[in-house]
């Protein structure tokens, strides 16, 4: 319907964003009528998303025209930002930012470098930055989940941990069940994604490639290795 009133391009995109914003505001008013006050979070969140995504789009237009080596700087900055965001979920854990940065940069950086070396990810910035950002974002989510679960596990079992230490057990041994639990819990969303891929959800990358005119089978193959 919007196609009738707006030509394709920025105007159509803004009109689509306006429709979605109205829907989000409707949810906010519905919640308010039930005594749940989400006004500030919703309005700030919506404004932040619109401003940020337009800014990112504008910066990407400039960056994607730059030399290939700048993609390494962009990805490194993304890793720092991801570590800062993940560390927020680990309040009370000393050195959470450093740990998150090492975890995310090791998990995603090694893989991006290796896959680029083997040619799985193309070295062109237009390919490397978007694919790398997806990998970094997922590493960030898993890292945040692992730290949160680990913090919750340790802080709710202080007595058992101190009893173990008092009996002479090594700290690494005492805390190992919570480490295993945290890693397993952090991977639940990824495992569910693998299980439901193609049945419950279609990856955004695949949908984007199909919309851009790629062969659906090729799009499916690319999405599966990612």
């Amino acid at each position: 319907m919007l196609n009738r009133f707006f030509e394709e391009g920025v105007a159509l995109g803004l009109a689509q964003a306006a429709v979605v914003t109205v829907l989000a505001l409707a949810v906010m008013f519905l919640a308010r009528s039930r005594g749940i006050h989400l006004e500030r979070e919703t309005v700030v969140g919506l404004v932040r998303v619109i401003v940020r995504i337009v800014a990112v789009g504008s910066v990407l237009v400039l960056l994607l025209q730059g030399p290939t080596w700048t993609s390494a700087i962009v990805l490194a900055l993304m890793m720092v930002a991801a570590a800062a965001i993940a560390a927020r979920h680990a309040k009370g854990i000393p050195g959470a930012f450093g740990v998150s940065f090492y975890g995310i940069s090791f998990g995603s950086g090694d893989l991006i470098a290796l896959m680029t070396f083997f040619g799985v990810i193309e070295t062109a910035m237009i390919s490397l930055v978007p694919v790398g950002s997806m990998i970094i974002a997922n590493a960030m989510n898993s890292n945040a989940l692992a730290l949160e679960r680990f913090r919750a596990g340790v802080s709710s079992h202080v007595g058992a941990l101190e009893a173990g230490l008092a009996l002479g057990a090594a700290p690494a041994r005492v805390v190992s069940p919570y480490v295993q639990e945290a890693v397993a819990a952090s991977l639940i969303p990824r495992v569910d994604n693998l299980r439901s891929l193609g049945i419950v959800w279609i990856p955004g990358l695949m949908a984007g490639m199909i919309l851009a005119g790629s062969d659906p089978v090729y799009a499916a193959i690319v999405s599966s290795w990612l």
Binding site: K91, A96, I104, N143, L145, S155, R190, N193
Partner: protein, 37 residues
Amino acid sequence: MIFASSGLASVVSTLLIRSHTFSKAEQLVLRQSPRES
């Protein structure tokens, strides 16, 4: 690829955070905050 990077990130961060959980005297540093109790 996403699964591998997520797994590596989780494993590395939890292994590193383990050393921040205890002091040099092997005492527990990480405790429940008053808000959680």
